[in-house]
Symmetry: C2
Subunit: 168 residues, 2 copies
DNA sequence: ATATATTTTCAATAAGTTTTGAAAATTCCA
DNA sequence: TGGAATTTTCAAAACTTATTGAAAATATAT
């Protein structure tokens, strides 16, 4: 397969993949482009390679920076700003996990803790099912929270090594 | 807090939560309603409690059944169909993981394997960065794939117990 | 200071997705 | 078999989200 074709396919499917993971299509495509670019590239490069507007590039690069996946790079002697992505996939994954945990899991657990103390007869089956469900989700979420925290801090070889050993 | 209010909040935020996880708002709300309903309920119950149309309920319950999260239940003597959700959160989570792995991770890894053999000079930095990136993602994805497979088969107490022991 | 390059913003618009509701299909009973 | 109850389908409408592009803001060079 030719490099040009393979690049186009990778960008397009990384974009589609991203939509399933709370990241919008264009943002994921820009990320894909940066992942396969050996050197930092400019807004104009991104506009041209993905055929999208300047405003769109600007907003999505800003979001990617907010997710901690992309950095602005200043190149001496150059007027324009350049962008570059973290290339280590383990770091990319832990960064995404960290952000999603903060944005989604933590607020959900906080909300559930407010919903658990319900007025009413503990023998009533509606009350019982509600508190059982909320309790079950909280317990599960709390455990997931712990596992993710350690994963975020752990280094790749130690973490995956340990996990995989469990399954031998 | 009153049960009615707590139910409404849970349904609404489970719905919002779902949108971050590739499940649409209404589908997640129906799921939430079923999770807190001690007994199976009908299309009409769902329509009424969530104020949504019959068609909407029909399509989304069908999707939930497709995800393996909800079952049709036949109640002897009743003309209508009833729906009921799996209540064990560990089973819910492993079912979701199983489906998403099948729908997203597996196809992505398959695609990447097609993109790796690139024509051209291995010393060219564009070629090198591309193959390094694809290779890195494949390796990581392959490990994730193994871990998820075991998780899907494992039972809760064994799996989380083992993981948590690692972190003591 | 002024001109020029570059980035940012955001209202308007386009594209995509979800929901409705009524008609068609199906199921069940007498 | 006919008819009532129930479920399913799907085109049109409503809603949501993403994108554009031009004007405003900012940064840099002379």
């Amino acid at each position: 397969m030719k490099l040009t074709e393979a690049k186009a396919q990778f960008i397009s499917s990384w974009g589609a993949f991203g939509t399933h993971w709370g990241i919008n299509r264009t943002m994921a495509q820009i990320h894909a482009l940066l992942l396969i670019s050996p050197d930092p590239i400019t807004q104009d490069d991104i506009m041209e390679q993905l055929s999208i507007s300047r405003g769109n590039v600007n907003m999505n690069t800003r979001d990617l920076i907010g997710w901690g996946l992309v950095d602005r790079v200043l190149i001496p002697g150059e007027r324009k700003e350049f962008f570059s992505a973290e290339k280590d996939i383990w770091k990319v994954a832990t960064q995404i996990i960290k952000e999603r945990k903060k944005r989604e899991l933590d607020p959900m657990l906080k909300l559930l803790s407010q919903l658990e103390p319900i007025e009413g007869d503990k023998k009533d089956k509606d009350v019982k099912q509600f508190t059982d469900t909320i309790g079950g989700i909280r317990k599960f979420g709390g455990q997931a929270d712990k596992v993710l925290d350690v994963m975020i801090k752990a280094d790749e070889s130690w973490f995956l090594g340990s996990i995989l050993k469990l399954f031998k």
